[in-house]
């Protein structure tokens, strides 16, 4: 932004002059309202606090109280919101959107769609048109909302089995990409729960989605002589894939335990 101070060769003009621009107040009005208070919408562009989603029951979800900037203005939900859903498709990710209201946010200002948002650099948030995305949920095979909750900026399935994305007694023995079943929100930090059938000399290795390694080195997330379950944190590629390989044919079950909501969708 250019220098807003009155320059030596400018006239001092106050507010509401019929033909000349206000130079006296110009500097103060940067990120301030006419009454001198801070311009909250400008200062908090992209702001999101609270509004964490969780499942209430098969066809309702909650949004916790919170505040969100939508298109440059700030809106508040002063109490927990309950949103009823209907007409869901099966096994589908849905994105929760907030539309700018005239007053406080209510359930009527909340919608959901299977259309993924895209990140807006100018609005500093995830948007579909003018509606800001504040969360996600997934439907099950019967088009009911799967158990889930969001906390600390993370989405977690309520039931581990709902996140299974690979279950096989014939795993790949060389580095292989596999989609973790997360929503279409670009690269994500994910928490993977894995189970391998026990036997000596069996191993499983993981690495991030963009890794160029073949996973044969001990530098990577490699678990040898394994049997049982554990968890590993990884970063997916832009298509929500990670890499794995298994040796000596363990039965392998990989579950998406949860993922970090991306920047612009969490406080």
């Amino acid at each position: 932004m250019s220098d807003q101070r009155i320059q030596y060769d400018e006239g001092m003009v106050g507010a509401n002059h019929p033909t000349k621009s206000d130079t006296l107040n110009r500097l103060m009005l940067v990120e301030h309202n006419n009454d001198g208070t801070h311009d909250i919408s400008t200062a908090t562009l992209g702001h999101l606090c609270g509004l964490e989603a969780s499942r209430k029951d098969s066809d309702e979800f909650y949004l916790e109280p919170g505040e969100v900037d939508i298109g440059g203005a700030s809106y508040t939900a002063t109490a927990q919101l309950t949103k009823q859903v209907s007409g869901l498709s099966a096994d589908t990710w849905y994105y929760i959107y907030a539309t700018a209201p005239s007053g406080d946010l209510t359930a009527g200002d909340i919608s959901y769609s299977s259309t993924a948002p895209s990140f807006s650099g100018s609005k500093v948030g995830w948007y579909n048109g003018e509606d800001r995305c504040v969360g996600v949920f997934k439907s099950d095979g019967s088009s009911n909302i799967l158990p889930f909750y969001c906390t600390g900026g993370w989405f977690f399935y309520g039931t581990l089995e709902d996140g299974v994305f690979l279950d096989t007694s014939s795993p790949a023995s060389s580095k292989t990409a596999v989609a973790v079943g997360a929503p279409n929100l670009g690269r994500l930090a994910v928490l993977i729960h894995y189970y391998c059938s026990p036997a000596a000399s069996r191993e499983i290795a993981f690495d991030n989605g963009d890794s160029s390694a073949d996973l044969s080195s001990n530098k990577y997330y490699r678990f040898e002589d394994i049997g049982g379950a554990s968890e590993v944190a990884l970063l997916t590629d832009a298509s929500q894939q990670v890499n794995y390989r298994a040796q000596n044919n363990p039965s392998v079950t990989l579950c998406l335990r949860g993922f970090k909501l991306p920047a612009g969708m969490t406080a």
Binding site: D91, G141, E161, V164, F165, L166, D167, T168, S169, S170, P171, A172, S173, S174, T176, A177, V178, A179, G181, Q241
Partner: protein
């Protein structure tokens, strides 16, 4: 969602929510057939005859799970095979040894299990592709 199965044995070997071409290739390199399928627990299904089918449920019911290790005390395990057309017999593994049980209307009994020394005898299904069921253990103890 993709399913991977062994076309020779009918075993349901894998399920993946959105397999990469590399994952499909890895399965196919192992001789598996890859097809589209719904989300489900593959432990409950097979691909016998190339078609997705539920496994037949088998229930093993011992009259007692603790016996005296004296060669006399016995546990009698009843075998129940579900379905409208159960087979005439089914093979089980008793401490790793195969035993064929004759079935009448889906029901039969293993040879009574006894032991002369303390041990644990596990009874499991031999064919886990066609059938599913929980194993049982008979524990033989020397209670003096």
């Amino acid at each position: 969602m993709k399913h991977a199965y062994d076309p020779n044995s009918g075993a349901f070997n894998g399920i993946c929510i959105s397999p990469s071409p590399a994952q499909v290739a890895a399965w196919e390199a192992q001789g598996l057939t890859v097809v589209d399928g719904p989300p489900l627990d593959r432990e409950l299904y097979n691909y016998l005859g190339g078609a997705l089918s539920t496994k037949v449920e088998v229930t093993l019911s011992p009259d007692q799970t603790n016996i005296e290790a004296d060669g006399v005390d016995e546990a009698l395990v009843t075998v129940s095979v579900a379905g409208e057309a159960p087979p005439a017999s089914i093979e089980l593994l008793v401490a790793g040894t195969a035993e064929t049980v004759t079935l009448t209307n889906g029901e039969g009994h293993l040879t009574p299990i006894s032991a002369e020394t303390p041990c644990t005898v596990e009874v499991t299904l031999s064919d886990t592709i066609t059938y599913r069921g929980e194993p049982v253990e008979i524990e033989a103890k020397d209670n003096g």
